[in-house]
């Protein structure tokens, strides 16, 4: 008993000849179908090239346009010829001219020898198929498709819609349950001859002639009527991308194909010399091998589909620029924004970077220059400290910073003195953790040695800016994790907010804070605010400070480090 190959070809006939010769010289008869649309000269050349081999036949040529009946007709003709001409053949393997055997044909023959009654054909009911393009599954069988999908897409769609609207349905032939599957199968003589010579063939053919993409359903459905033992998988490794286009294998897939342990793969790029040379070499595959295992390849291809359809969140580049309606993560990783903290505490940056083990920047959006951690003038990815470059495209600046430092959480200070254009972008970013102590901008003014008139004007300006920022943060569309305290609220009990923030930044270090940064000296701050009021300004963002010399909390705090429980 032996194995015969039916081969459908249309281009790269030299490669098809090479494969046919490989199989034929190893004792497997081959029937070749050449697409009618292939130039006659090429087809004749192919016949001449293979004329020295006694076990190769050429079947009647049909035009094989994608998705049409021609492909099935071609397969039928070639398979019938195979059964008639080579009575010793038990399994017929349907292959294409772009197939490449990955394992010696002896191994495939032995594999089939051990399973003499099994039909290998992927055959799935229409309800269970999730992979068809065009969204048509069951309707492939119940509607009519006189227009070519690739050439007359509009007519195709309109006609489908009309039939749906008027509920026009075709009747299925008796006993037929529609199944779909990969068109590359391997069937036994018994099953194949029952399909080809069965009494109902004329009826089935008439029906499938009008089915859309019949090469994925004709044998897949009929085999259910005649076969006794179906193994619903294809022996040919064949992957499709998310557009339904077959993946092509190149030289660099050599190791991948080797490890798959599959018998045959398609499609191979015709110029992949290394693949053809390696797998067609006489010594190929002398080591014993396992069951076909396309799982490894499946995982890799699933990843490729994800890269194509979902991309890398937070990356904006030459071939990824989502529009407004397709936001899938503004930035690449979580980051923290602090407003007012470096004013309230004297050494907030160093304290936080020590505690959370991350790099803490100064005011990245400061008006004169970008204050990177450690005063660097260029940062990861060669980000410049030029304020002009940053302000030219602040969104790119921020997404670049977070992208360039993936794996290391970024923390930075923000304030009403900074360039505010980025505020809305941050507020709408689920990756942002924004903590604001409102009114803290007054502390440096309070400590400064400037004329009060100047201070008053600047305080009013900063308060206005900060109020706008807070209004953005309180909008309904905000996705950032926002926490806002007034200055008075915050210094009353600074521990709790700090603990929450740090827990969020480094969730694994679940220890309690034993040390908080040093609070700025706020003695007399209440009086300072009262002075602002007396000058006609209305400081609101700071909260309620008593006008006395004392802070709202217990005195002497800033001298002693906090120790909690």
């Amino acid at each position: 008993m032996t194995l015969g190959f039916v081969m459908l070809t249309h281009t790269a006939l030299d490669r098809a000849a090479q494969i046919a010769r490989h199989w034929a010289t190893r004792g497997c008869p081959v029937v070749i179908h050449v697409d009618l649309r292939t130039p006659r000269a090429q087809a004749e050349q192919l016949q001449a090239d293979l004329s020295d081999l006694p076990n190769i036949r050429f079947s009647t040529r049909h035009a094989c346009e994608w998705g049409t009946w021609g492909l099935v007709a071609a397969t039928q003709a070639a398979a019938s010829l195979m059964l008639a001409e080579f009575p010793q053949v038990r399994h017929v393997y349907l292959a294409s001219g772009a197939c490449l055997p990955l394992r010696p044909v002896e191994e495939l023959r032995a594999y089939l020898e051990a399973r003499p009654r099994t039909d290998f054909i992927e055959s799935v009911t229409t309800a269970d198929v999730g992979w068809t393009i065009g969204g048509l599954n069951a309707e492939r069988f119940t509607l009519r498709f006189p227009f070519a999908w690739r050439k007359n897409r509009l007519l195709f769609d309109v006609y489908v819609e009309l039939q749906r609207r008027f509920r026009i349905r075709r009747k299925l032939p008796n006993g037929l349950v529609p199944h779909l599957g990969s068109q590359w199968w391997c069937l036994t003589r018994q099953t194949l001859s029952a399909i080809l010579d069965g009494p109902g063939r004329a009826e089935f053919d008439a029906f499938f002639r009008r089915v859309w993409i019949p090469d994925e359903s004709y044998f897949q459905s009929l085999v259910r009527l005649f076969s006794t033992n179906i193994e619903s998988r294809s022996l040919t490794l064949s992957k499709f991308d998310y557009q339904g286009k077959p993946h092509i294998f190149y030289d660099d897939h050599l190791q991948l194909l080797r490890r798959s342990d599959c018998f045959v793969a398609r499609k191979i790029w015709p110029q992949a010399n290394k693949l053809y040379d390696t797998f067609l070499a006489p010594s190929a595959g002398s080591e014993p091998r396992a069951e076909p295992n396309p799982g490894k390849i499946d995982r890799l291809f699933a990843k490729a589909v994800e890269r194509r359809t979902a991309g890398r969140p937070g990356l904006y580049m030459q071939s990824r620029f989502p529009n407004r309606e397709w936001e899938t993560g503004r930035t690449a990783a979580p980051y923290s924004v602090f407003e007012g903290f470096s004013e309230v505490f004297e050494d907030f940056d160093t304290w936080l970077s020590k505690l959370a083990g991350t790099r803490v920047h100064g005011h990245l959006f400061a008006p004169d220059r970008v204050e990177y951690a450690g005063g660097a003038s260029v940062y990861n990815g060669c980000l410049s400290d030029s304020a002009a470059l940053r302000d030219y495209n602040p969104r790119s600046f921020l997404t670049n910073l977070v992208w360039n430092t993936r794996g290391e959480r970024q923390c930075f200070q923000f304030g009403p003195n900074d360039a505010q254009e980025i505020a809305e972008f941050i507020a709408g970013d689920p990756n942002a953790q924004v903590s604001v102590i409102t009114g803290a901008f007054a502390i440096p003014l309070f400590q400064s040695n400037r004329n009060f008139g100047e201070i008053r004007a600047e305080a009013a300006q900063l308060q206005k800016t900060e109020a706008e920022f807070v209004a953005i943060l309180r909008a309904s569309w905000v996705k950032a994790r926002v926490r806002i305290w007034s200055l008075a609220e915050f210094i009353e009990s600074p521990m709790e907010p700090l603990q929450t923030i740090v827990d969020e930044i480094s969730p694994r270090s679940s220890r309690r804070l034993t040390e908080v940064p040093r609070l700025a000296d706020l003695t007399g701050f209440g009086q300072f605010l009262q002075n602002l009021r007396n000058q006609g300004m209305k400081p609101v963002l700071m909260g309620d400070f008593p006008v006395g010399p004392d802070l709202p909390s217990t005195p002497g705090r800033r001298v002693r480090p906090y120790v909690v429980k």
Binding site: I248, R307, C382, N393, S396, F425
Partner: protein, 356 residues
């Protein structure tokens, strides 16, 4: 009609629309494209044929079009690199070179050569000549339009030559292919290490900026506008808007009715500019390794500054030329050394899209 914004920053690009204003825009772009093609037809008279070897080129041949001036030191490596990629034929316009460039090109079996002494600036920086050669020879073919200091790399380029890429693009209905121009620079001052004609420029120009690119989309033609890299950082830190544009469309399946608009940064019809995915996914893209900063860049800056043939308004770029003339060190502590396309892909400077 409301005015279109200057450029859309990240996540500000509206989804494509088909209202009256956009139809009007489309019509105006169509007129513009016709003018560009007409201009190209007119400017063909600038070109004097030196060697035409295009006869007998296959319909599937991959062409490479370039306009050169005094590029002898780079050409040997440029030709070798792109021959290896699978370019079948080079169409070259020599714009009054005074070095060995014409001699080097004249006798190459796969180069067709034209010469002109006409103004580079008045041919829209050589683009009219390019558009003409593409119109005449590129129709129906995949065409690579480059400068002599650009080396195209793309995912898997070492194992999958251009015919593999273009077939894949064909299969996926993509007529154009985008690439980011990546400025490469040496470790020290530009002139510190010598470079002999024919040497691999990547041996000295090993460093690049990995992540300081500003990305926007211009609304009119929906083309990208990427700026940044070493030049923006070193020369345009106070005037970023003028920093060079880095996005390009070097590879297009040409049609005689197409036209490049502004270098190869943008093309018409506008759908050619849609090389980026707008729905969150990644399309395939490549990188043009920019080998401008060989030692000769300093000397060339002096010449260009004098010739005033580059940039629409050369006086605004005086600071840029002066920066170059000072033989700058572009390398900085955050610079990365180029190791290959996988590195660039990992950094997000190019993408393999779905091409596994």
């Amino acid at each position: 009609m409301g005015a279109l914004p200057h450029a859309h920053p990240i996540l500000d690009l509206p989804a494509p629309q088909r209202d009256l204003q956009h139809l009007w825009q489309a019509w105006r772009l169509r007129q513009r494209r016709r003018r560009l093609i007409f201009r190209a037809l007119r400017k063909r008279r600038d070109l004097t044929l030196v060697a035409d070897r295009t006869a007998g080129l296959a319909r599937t041949a991959i062409l490479c079009v370039l306009v050169v001036r005094n590029e002898a030191e780079r050409l040997a490596h440029f030709l070798a690199h792109h021959r290896r990629l699978g370019v079948d034929h080079f169409l070259v316009v020599d714009n009054a070179s005074t070095d060995a460039t014409p001699a080097l090109l004249r006798d190459q079996p796969d180069v067709s050569l034209w010469q002109t002494a006409a103004s580079y600036k008045r041919s829209r920086f050589g683009l009219d000549w390019t558009n003409w050669l593409l119109l005449r020879h590129g129709h129906g073919r995949w065409c690579l339009t480059l400068d002599a200091d650009e080396l195209l790399v793309y995912p898997h380029w070492e194992t999958r030559p251009l015919p593999a890429l273009t077939r894949w693009l064909d299969d996926h209905g993509q007529d154009s292919f985008g690439a980011l121009m990546l400025d490469l620079y040496p470790e020290g001052p530009l002139t510190a290490k010598g470079h002999r004609p024919g040497d691999d420029p990547l041996a000295t120009l090993r460093w690049f900026d990995a992540g300081n690119y500003s990305v926007q989309v211009q609304p009119r033609m929906r083309n990208l506008w990427i700026q940044g890299g070493a030049r923006a950082r070193a020369f345009f830190a106070t005037d970023p808007r003028r920093a060079p544009t880095l996005n390009k469309l070097p590879l297009v399946r040409w049609h005689w009715r197409y036209a490049y608009v502004n270098s190869t940064h943008a093309a018409l019809p506008p759908r050619l500019n849609a090389v980026f995915d707008e729905t969150g996914g990644e399309r395939i893209s490549g990188v043009l390794l920019h080998t401008k900063f060989l030692p000769s860049a300093v000397e060339k800056a002096a010449e260009e500054k004098g010739r005033r043939q580059h940039f629409a308004n050369p006086s605004r770029y005086a600071a840029y030329y002066d920066g170059l003339l000072a033989d700058p060190v572009l390398h900085c502590p955050a610079s990365l050394a180029y190791t290959g396309w996988r590195q660039l892909e990992g950094l997000g400077l190019m993408s393999r899209g779905g091409w596994l």
